[in-house]
Amino acid sequence: MVIPEEHELPEPARAAEMLRAASEDLETLMPGARVGAFRVESLIGRGAHGVVFRAAQDQPWRRTVALKVLRHDAETVRDQRRFELEQQTLASLSHPGIAAVLDAGRLPDGRPWFAMELVEGMAIDAMVRRGRLALSQRLSLLSQLCETVAYAHRKGVIHRDLKPSNVLVSDDGGSLRVRVLDFGVARSATVRNDDADRLTMTGHLVGTIEFLSPEVAEHGAASADVRTDIYALGVLTCVVLTTRLPVELGDARVTPLDERLRRIRMDAPRSLARLAAGAEGAVPADSIRPDLQALVERCLEKDPIRRYPSAEALAVDLRRLAEGQSLDLIPLSGPRRVHRFLTRHRLLAGAVATVAAILVLSSAVSLALARSAGQARLAAEAALADALAAEQRTSRTVMGLWRAIMPVSNQLQFGSQRDLNVAMMRSMREVLSEVFGPEHARTNTAVREYARALNAAGRRKEALEVYMTALPIWERQAGADSPALIPIRTEIAECLRRAGEPARAVPIYEQVLTQSTAQGGSGESPVQAARRGLASALGDLGRFDEAELVATEALTRLTLDPPPHAMDRAFMEGVLASILRQADRWVEAEQIYRSLLAPERAASLASHPQSRLALGIWAGELASLLNDSGRTSEVRPWLAYGLQMSRGEASPDNPTMRWMLEQAGCHGLAPDGSRNDMAISASE
């Protein structure tokens, strides 16, 4: 056969055109195509999983329907399952505010479809803007919306993506009627770890960010319950009344996602009157009564427990307001929201003071940390002042302190002040436990950070004790199969492996990988860390063939799975090199070490403390390998580089670090990798 030369192949643009033809042309059903008893008329729109067409039915009834078909390019079986779940969810609901499912089936190519009532109307925000609706009309629409959501909740369905475009308003013979659409990410309210959870939790965030609740922004979709919908209803109320969002999230093009999520978690909602002032389409600012303000505040509480307990209760209050009645709610101004924790909890004052003192100390001993520690110190001092003032200390202050110290903590994990970090994290755990309760989500975060700090400090047994005490609580809260536990289990296994217990670590790593595979995840860093850990643990156990298989498979996945993570890939190559070295396959190991330490690649990796440390360790391992090969003349430059890159950052129990420090003197090097003239003359 004739093998085509490269120049005989289609040009990239032409090849891309052909690929697009293969992937796009079949997606759109042509007008006139028959789908079950329906005839496709036109394309209405495309969603994340489905394409929606307007279609007509002639027999046995004449009617127009919305036909939703699984997208042709739906990526995985998970997408298909999610599509089917939406269909099942809708079929279980029968309410005038929710489009009913009429029929369902499969296309000849196997894609599922379902037909539902065609809802023609206008998104609720556009309607209020265009219709210049009065306050009472808006409140009445919102009350209808809440009644519909309450019905879904009673049926055990949480919507999880309530936003204006999913709430249509139609003029139904002079009265306005609200319909709720798109139950594509809905899930059961009563069963925590059902299919929908597994299908929607992998990406951690479900819903539209502007309407995301603080708990989902912080803990992912696993934490969603009916109160998550209540929060979204509060945001919707704000938008319908003022056309503005209660929390300014910033422009998505310039504000990083993390920062937008942080604002959802931390920033207080602005008052309705302030939002309404000067906003086109908003109700007059002076028409907003304190009880309406209080109602929205209650919906938008950061702590779900403080929100309306049900959409039904919210609907009742909205209806009363629409009818001109008043509520027994009083808005809480800033100072009145102050929690008087300190006067009740003396421990807190001590803990905050400890954190502040540690921050001051850390900034004094490390110039590199001076700037961030300085900022943190100011925050800590402010927190302390607040604490002493008692009346002014709030949970926000504590969280502000937490935010301020985290960058410092992250740096301390890689420096020589790991014990300071441990002390700081222990104090923060106590503070958060005191303020929010021992099993609150924020406290959980602090407990985990404390365990991580212990692990980073080489205090493995203590870290394991903290992890093992907390794990049953987290399993109970999130469910044993929750993806949120994947990184935590990976950390536990890592801790065990480094504590010299690889045999205990292996089944945990395997559990993590089995779980992540079942839940469709593969490319995330925690999963990569698990693969790295499993390969290393197998290598530690002398099971080199299995270790190599895991490492090469992981490398293949990293090469083939988008997006490519340069650091993950480099770390996995480092593990593979280490396994090959242990298996006495030195030539291959050396090859990989040299590839990792090639100047251009090393330069790109050296910008992060963790990979800088890894570069140091790889250089040390290469130096050790060269030493063992009898090529001692090649050892010194790699040893110097290794010491220089890992200076003060390697964990004290790292054997390569110990070896490098032992060897430094013999090669005329100081512990930081610089030339040590005294050692040189002594060795000479």
């Binding site: 093998i3 030369e5 490269e6 293969a22 042309d25």
Partner: protein
């Protein structure tokens, strides 16, 4: 590509076929080997051209040598099937190993052979792009052959015209007196054949049927789209 090939014999599940059809006399196996060479030779040669292996000879010849050395062994592809990794990755690794062996045999007295490329740096952008182009070319060849075998040359011509310049389809329609509906139908039939061929080739590389669309999207990205 020989047009005499019987496309219907090309297995839609090459992996399972390989496990049951071994030996050089197996017709299906020969087809698979030919297809593999057709798809992967150019990308592998392009890959070698971007590495320091190019110092050791003509990349196309090195790739041919590799195929001759490995694909004659019917266990080679059986081992690939059991490896569970993508064929292109398997071939790249195999090619590197083959070249390492060649280099070592030439420099066997040195302690450390010159091993210019690491395993992990294997799959690069250049390879992926040429691989995508090669796959498209092969899929077009298969789809064209299938259209011709069904007496649907005009369908294929319509498909090419539809995805060529804007005026070409209208001219074709006029020349053959086709209505807009007829023409659209022909394009859809040929598109379906092209897509089917493309999916088969993607499956040959080791993707599962559920991953085929994702793989096509990945090919698109590798072409800079």
């Amino acid at each position: 590509m020989e047009t005499a090939e019987r496309p219907e014999l090309f297995p839609s599940t090459p992996s399972s076929m390989l496990l049951h059809c071994r030996g050089p006399d197996c017709d299906g196996r020969r087809q698979v080997v030919r297809r593999i060479m057709g798809i992967y030779a150019s990308p592998l040669a392009a890959y070698l051209r971007s590495t320091s292996f190019r110092r050791f000879g003509d990349p196309a010849e090195m790739v041919n040598g590799f195929f001759a050395s490995r694909l004659d062994d019917d266990q080679y592809l059986v081992r690939w099937v059991s490896s569970g990794i993508r064929l292109r990755r398997w071939l790249i690794n195999g090619l590197l190993l083959y070249l390492h062996e060649q280099v070592r045999s030439e420099r066997r007295h040195r302690r450390l052979g010159v091993l210019p490329e690491s395993l992990a740096a294997a799959v690069d952008r250049g390879f992926e792009q040429v691989y995508a182009r090669s796959l498209v070319q092969q899929a077009m060849d298969i789809a064209r052959a299938r259209c011709e075998a069904e007496g649907q040359s005009l369908h294929w011509a319509s498909f090419l015209a539809r995805h060529g310049d804007a005026g070409a389809l209208a001219a074709l329609r006029q020349a053959h007196g086709l209505s807009s509906g007829q023409s659209s139908h022909m394009v859809r039939v040929a598109t379906a054949r092209f897509r089917k061929a493309l999916v088969e080739l993607v499956l040959l590389d080791g993707a599962t049927p559920g991953e085929a669309d994702l793989e096509i999207q990945r090919l698109l990205r590798s072409l800079g789209s």
